[in-house]
């Protein structure tokens, strides 16, 4: 596609503010028909706000959008869809009980009152065939894999004659085979002249599939370039806005005794033969791509999804961990990645959330909760972590993301674990809070806690870890010490080309 083509979607000076946060500032973006345009940026860079504005979920404060030269301001996703702009998210949005064919065509399948199932299934088969997917159109969509459901969504988009399809981290939950399938489908979209806005964290994918790359940082559009003019270092530098080496520097201390030892740990179908040790005062980073099995190991150590095989040894004694209660008893705590769904009880107060994992400590034999002790401990943690809240009794849903994260951290610190597993601890929080979390992790390590840090943010993992374990497809590829690891070696191992 040549540059003198008119863009199919043009964003001019789009700004959006939520309360005190500027989500997007003066953003310009052009999408051309038939191009695959990658959108790259850290969490908080404004990518999801952009999607929401383009699909009509939010309205921009300033700026305009043009669709094929005409003013474009959809009031809701249905309106955007009608005009040819649709989005597909990480979690497919389908009707599990309806058939594949109905999923593709519902909402617009119908001329008239009646539904012609045979014709619908025929058409569905055609569309799916063009996407190289051999799915039975009459079966319920609920039994499909994520990849299958995504294909259904793409087929739906094609049947809607979309002109722009936005894909938000579509490969997050796919296998290698499925990612190749997806890319073939994207190719098909390209052939049809659809503009694909492809949001991804994974720079290698970007190199494989994109025609152009736009980089966002802190709500601003930093650059747009053809893929040929881009290198990984350039992208990282522009995403991060500073040299990766300018990250938080850990105080290196001499690690103590081995506190956690894992040998041959496995859970059928998920991960296998994982062995490692963690010492007091050390940070063991877990790098790897989404789906490599890192969270699953954490869930096994924490007892939410126990392992089938292998042994876990804490302080020299083998232990069985069949539930979170067991894990906590042995001093293992887990800060989950999804704080909204798994980490916090949103309607309950900050104090309640902080003491949630240690309720027994404040409970008298009669069952009564010692509120003043609770409040004192909660206040202490609030001060220590710098949680900003009007009152400790405020429901935790009133707090900002960063403060919610700190509350969650506070819950686990209150449990005084020997081993703290952090799963993507700085995902979705602003840069300032991120730095605070890093400083805090350092402090914890210095105080003798053993820390396992799962992170998809490579610079973060490299900066924070004493040693880095790299996972790939359920196997532990290797453990590198902080000094001889760099982004290339880690990435290479994560990808399997080491």
């Amino acid at each position: 596609m040549s540059k003198d083509q008119q863009p199919i979607l043009a964003l001019r000076s789009i700004s959006k503010r939520f309360g005190a946060t500027q989500a997007l500032a003066d953003v310009e973006l052009n999408l051309f028909p038939g191009e695959v345009h990658a959108l790259v940026g850290e969490n908080g860079a404004g990518k999801s706000t952009l999607i929401k504005i383009a699909t009509g979920i939010h309205q921009p404060d300033t700026g305009t959008m043009e669709l094929a030269g005409e003013p474009f301001h959809p009031g809701d996703p249905a309106a955007a869809q009608r005009q040819g702009v649709a989005a597909i998210y990480q979690e497919p949005s389908i009707f599990p009980d309806l058939s594949v064919a109905e999923n593709i065509f519902i909402g617009h399948q119908d001329r008239g009152l009646l539904v012609d199932r045979k014709a619908m299934e025929r058409d569905a088969a055609t569309v799916l065939g063009s996407l190289d997917m051999d799915l039975n159109p009459s079966q319920p969509a609920g039994i499909l894999t994520v990849a299958g459901q995504q294909a259904v969504e793409i087929a739906k988009a094609i049947s809607l004659d979309v002109r722009i399809l936005i894909m938000d981290e579509p490969t997050a939950a796919l296998s290698a085979h499925e990612v190749k399938q997806l890319f073939r489908q994207v190719q098909r979209l390209r052939e049809l002249g659809v503009a694909v806005l492809f949001i991804s964290h994974r720079l290698d994918e970007v190199f494989e599939i994109a025609d152009r790359v736009s980089i966002f940082r802190d709500g601003r559009h930093i650059s747009s370039r053809p893929i040929s003019e881009v290198t990984e270092e350039l992208m990282v530098r522009e995403m991060v806005g500073r040299d990766p080496s300018e990250f938080f520097v850990r105080t290196r201390t001499e690690p103590g005794d081995v506190v956690l030892s894992v040998d041959g740990l496995g859970r059928r179908g998920v991960f296998r033969d994982v062995s490692f040790e963690v010492r007091r005062g050390e940070v063991l980073g877990f790098a790897g791509l989404v789906g490599a099995g890192r969270t699953d190991i954490a869930l096994a150590l924490f007892g939410v999804a126990p392992a089938d095989e292998g042994t876990i040894t804490v302080n020299g004694t083998p232990v069985t961990i069949g539930s979170p209660t067991d894990a906590l008893r042995h001093g293992i705590a887990y800060l989950s990645e999804d704080r909204r769904k798994l980490g916090l009880s949103m309607t309950q107060s900050v104090t309640t959330n902080i003491t949630l994992a240690t309720l027994d400590r404040y409970t008298s034999p009669l069952g009564l909760v010692d509120r003043s002790a609770e409040a004192a401990d909660a206040a202490a943690l609030r001060d220590r972590l710098g949680i900003v809240t009007a009152s400790l009794d405020s429901p935790v849903e009133h707090l900002s993301g960063g403060n919610q994260q700190k509350t969650m951290l506070g819950k686990w610190l209150n449990a005084e674990p020997q081993i703290l597993i952090l799963d993507e601890p700085t995902r979705g929080i602003d840069v300032g809070a991120k730095a605070e979390v890093h400083r805090f992790v350092d402090e914890l390590a210095r105080s003798g806690m053993a820390i396992i840090m799962i992170s998809s943010d490579l610079p973060e993992v490299l900066a924070m870890s004493d040693r880095i374990a790299i996972m790939r497809e359920g196997r532990l590829e290797g453990i590198r010490s902080g000094d001889d690891a760099n982004q290339e070696t880690v990435m290479a191992m994560a990808v399997g080309v080491a």
């Binding site: 949005s93 059928r268 099995g293 497809e473």
Partner: protein, 364 residues
């Protein structure tokens, strides 16, 4: 269309099988079981609940519930009976229309509160269950409408038959019920409106995104269930004759039970009217059969029904779990094969092989 894969068909066939099994077993135990008399008894007694089960299915499929159907039956039955009492020359058609209209209005009240008032269906219909019953009570002033005050055709309708063969009668009331069920089944299977009800129940967020007008559809579904309950009220009047202010009490629970046994999931999005019909038939067949077994007293019927409902819920839960997947299950690894193999050559793309492991995901 691959019949064997669709869960709704599986449920319906299972129910049919269970009914057949029950009939066979009871036939061995009870003398004279396979007679026309028994069929006639079941077919006439089941009419009201069948229509109510269909009404309930309509609402439950879109992820709501209607606990007021029993009271709507009461209102419709009483108002219609009262009307007929004062207008003995009125034709059956007029009576049916009145009953249906009354039901539709009451249903619309429910629908408005649920769809536009944002009040959960269970709360609305719990309230209207009481409210509508109060309406009958006020209207009736404590007086019953006795059967002999009604026109003769009411009694005749109860006994009237469309066809007869070998002692097996196809009673008019039963025929009407069947027609209603089939019509509703057709609507939900073939009409755009019906498919959208399933969509709303299956995934309300996705439905909103797809531009489906959920509020309007929910309103219509409640009006539909109300209208059907009205029809059931008419049938109730025909079968029972004497109508008091408590007519229809308790039928709402029976309708939910029949729907649940019939495979309509309380979570919405699945199940069919046909299934609800079969559920009602199964329940009534069991109930009336147990009465005939001398060792089993009639007082066992509810206990058995309770077990049946529980079994259905468990079966439905297990079936759902087998058929649906947890989306975005991360990092499944084929423990036996090293990475690089394809996920099962014999399964078509994108389908979860229940036992197969998937390759680990990769950042390509």
């Amino acid at each position: 269309m691959n019949l064997s894969l669709r869960p709704d068909r599986i449920k319906e066939l299972t129910l049919l099988g269970l009914i057949a099994l029950a009939v066979i077993i009871f036939g061995l135990v009870i003398d004279g079981y396979f007679s026309g008399r028994f069929f006639n008894r079941v077919s006439t007694s089941v009419v009201v609940v069948v229509i109510l089960a269909a009404a309930q299915a309509l609402v439950v499929i879109s992820r709501n519930v209607d606990l007021s159907v029993g009271s709507i039956v009461g209102v419709a039955a009483y108002l219609t009976a009262d009307f007929l009492q004062n207008n003995t020359g009125a034709s059956p058609v007029v009576a049916v229309l009145i009953a249906v209209a009354v039901g539709a209005v009451l249903g619309a009240f429910n629908g408005l509160l649920v769809a536009y008032g944002g009040v959960p269906a269970i709360i609305v219909t719990l309230g209207t269950l009481a409210l509508f019953r109060t309406l009958v009570s006020l209207y009736s002033g404590g007086e019953n409408v006795t059967a002999d005050a009604l026109p003769d055709w009411v009694i005749e309708l109860n006994a009237s038959t469309i066809v007869s063969g070998g002692g097996f009668d196809l009673r008019t009331t039963f025929a009407v019920a069947i027609v209603v069920v089939l019509a509703l089944q057709w609507i939900l299977a073939r009409l755009r409106w019906g498919r959208r009800l399933y969509a709303i129940g299956s995934n309300p967020d996705a439905a909103a995104q797809a531009g489906i007008p959920a509020k309007r559809l929910v309103l219509w579904s409640f009006m539909g269930s109300g209208a059907l309950a009205g029809l059931a009220g008419f049938m109730f009047m025909v079968r029972v004759g004497t109508i008091s202010a408590t007519a229809g009490s308790g039928l709402e629970l029976e309708s939910v039970a029949a729907a649940v046994v019939g495979g309509v999931s309380i979570l919405g999005g699945s199940g069919t009217v046909l299934g609800a019909f079969l559920g009602a038939v199964l329940i009534d067949t069991l109930r009336l059969s147990l009465v005939r077994v001398p060792q089993v007293s009639e007082f066992w019927r509810d206990a058995v029904l309770g077990v049946l409902v529980l079994a259905s819920v468990i079966a439905d839960g297990l079936l759902n779990r087998r058929l649906s997947r947890r989306v975005a299950e991360r990092g499944a690894v084929n423990a036996a094969e090293p990475a690089g193999g394809t996920a099962g050559d014999t399964t078509p793309d994108g389908v979860q092989h229940p036992l197969a492991a998937r390759e680990g995901s990769i950042n390509a």
